[in-house]
Amino acid sequence: MSQSFDAVVIGAGIVGAACAYYLTRAGLRVAVAERGTVASGTTGAGEGNILISDKQPGPELELTRLSQRLWRELGDELGPEAELDPKGGLVVAAGPAELSGLEQFAASQAEAGVRAQAVPPGELPELEPHLARGLAGGVFYPEDMQVQPMMAAALLLHRAAERGAELRFRHEVTGLETAAGRVTGVRTSAGLLSTELVVNAAGTWAGEVAGLAGLPLPVLPRRGFIVVTEALPVLIRHKVYTADYVANVASGSAGLEVSTVIEGTASGTVLIGASRERVGFDRSSSLRIVGLLAAQAARLFPVLAQARAIRFYRGFRPYCPDHLPVIGADDRLAGLLHACGHEGAGVGLAPATGHLIAQLAAGQEPSLPVAPFSPARFAEAARA
């Protein structure tokens, strides 16, 4: 059985959901093909961060600014169930060296228009009463937000479905049909979806999807663990992380890197991250990493030492060698667009990604230059 669509989005994570949302808003007839169900990949293993604090000036920061504006609109449209919370982020520095690095970074961000407020050590307790004493200082970013990512993805898809999108959960994509150098359809475990436009939003598995058409795309898994506490009274008001987090995100190391990232959620649990390591899709538990996360959390917030962890989970961030997402047309196969490789920032960057993809699909001038995110950059890097 074959059905015909203007566009087929592969993947029902937060990025695929945002693509389906904006494509249907542009009037396209869309199908979403997903081998699991809503948010069953990395979206369901994340914290729901919408951060600007960790972005250095450049294309990703501009993408973030667009995305934050769109998230604020979506927060109203999706309603309270999406739990969009403009809580703000606090980056803290343990010693003078980290503080000076942090302040320089914040100054460069401020020049690019990011709101960043220096917080002297004496004022840290006002922002976070349970923060360890003796820190050198911090920077507060009022624009950082958090969302319930699974619910947000589900609600975006629901809105898309109201505008006619067909959600094909439990349909695994098994191949891309092509003719004369362009896409003609998506083969799934439950039949063919005919289309001339395919959006690859398969997240950490996007490289495999591109591989179905014989096209290499360097999206690789970067594993992370998150420790979850029992529900607690409100102890932690903002997203709080240590200044080394930004360096670890940007690092190209395959080895383990652990920084301290802590936040409360609307449900009362406290989420503790963040570890990064390149170990493929290894799903085994590492109690050593979980222990490191716990130790660091208890040092940053001593009150957490007596709180109890009730679970931890692992996820696989889709990362590209240059830590930028892949957004735009693949010039090797007409009709194939990529929307993937967002690493740990997929939730934050999803609306901008969907918005740009919809503009590209409609042949409009995109709101931002997409060249820095173009899949062609990998071929250029290989030639260089």
Partner: protein, 570 residues
Amino acid sequence: MPEPISVTVDGADWLVPPGITIAAAFTTRGQPGWRRTRLRGEPRGLSCGIGVCFDCLVTVNGTPGVRACLAEVRPGDVISTETGSGFAGSAAGPAAWEPEASVAAERCDVAVVGAGPAGLTAAVTAADAGCTVQVLDLGERPGGQFWRWGPATADGRFHHGWAAFTALRHRFDAHQAGGRIVCRPGHAVFQVQPPAGNESWFRVQAVAGDRERAYAWVLARAVVVATGAYDLQLPVPGWTLPGVMAAGAAQALLKSSAVTAGRRVVVAGAGPFLLPVAAGLAQAGARVVAVAEAGQPADYVRHPAALAASWRKLPEAAGYLARLTRHRVPVLRRHAVIAAAGDGRLESVTLARLDRDWRPVPGTERTMAADVLAAGYGFVPQVELLAEAGARLAGQAAVAGADQQTTVPGLFAAGETTGVGGSDLARAEGEIAGRAAARLVGRAVAPPARTVVRERAALRQFAAVMQAVHAVRPGWADWPGDDTVVCRCEEVTLGRMRAAAGLGADDARSIKLLARPGMGWCQGRICGPPVASLLASGLTPAESPSRPLAQPVPLSVLAQLAGPDSASKM
């Protein structure tokens, strides 16, 4: 009667019998509920009764989140009831916390997790063969739930098979005296880590200590996991009211503390376990107004071969029935309690007759006064430790070979963890596992007697028939309503779960991600099986849930798993 002891509860002095659980103390004071929930402010009390559901938490001597169903009162205890999370950290401030010292690692041949019929048998069997054995158990004294006991019940008058337990304990104590067995009560094992790489040691990790804040671990060359099972409860309107509890919780109060759960009791559910629960309560002086069995025990006649193989079970059931008749307890077949009601505590239940699929037959509903509903629809094996260690599961039970070894070499499962079958089967499996573990670590030991192996086969056959006759039928989905709380921890209603299903969630994990059932303290142990059953008509079979921490672990304990380099930079 021994001298009562004095404890303080929310500022009031209470005199209570020594050695009873804190939950039993509340019960004797006529107070079935003591905690208030975080979101809805609803009263809660004893529910599972055996440390699985975390609904009965109290603060004891400043430590929040203590399970009242497990902890026993001690003279001078200062107990306070909790609202919401009960977390006292914000009041105590950052400096007030001192982590407890961890317990040094000890090496042994065989570690046994769980000191019930299977675990105790495995431990003494392995020790008989010359092994050094460490036994880690959540309870305060060996016996497990089946032989749970306390100072007030040490005569075994509320127990079954007490002579067998006494004999087993005699051997157990002798091995303790001889140094072969080390028993570690009050250990909440949160993970069993198989040997990594070229190592040969399993690492069994637990939270221990008075305040459940110390880290303890044992290194063993073989591990037997005998963590038992807990009651399957089905959510009905009102089932979170104090006074509504698992059948096993009523039984545990009696066995541990000689306390009856209430005055007018209805026992409901499915399976032969209901009979001893009702008989025990009646014997202890409660008025059991009805036993409602949802299944149709007459169906046993369809399986005469299995019945013949386990002939001993018949007189046992007949004995309980005779006792119930003596106490004038009506036993209603194909009936269920489909709702509970009361103002802050249970006051009445609604009984209904069921059709073959367990749908209530219209017009048969009747309401009766009761202050306790003890309900159980079978049992759920506790297999988290095995699953996280990598052992393969089949349905809810671990896959085990003829020698009780799981798919992880050196890791054995015995008792209910391999499938629910009762204490006799648990002892047979424990003996086979104990011998196999001893052989694995190099002891010369004879294979199990053929009678034991035959007994295991016969009892398993009977258990399969029992489960078929009493299996939960899909019509129970008509009992709860959209406003019925299904997940007790996160207070998620069936309506919210259905809304999540409407957004595309079609399996237990995606329902959980969208609506949060199973995200709380018990990690879906209580609501997981009913949620899976409610979804069973859906598209996707439930994955076995991932619970990497089988018990809550304080971050101060978790931090010790990081190894020596954890003291580096913040």
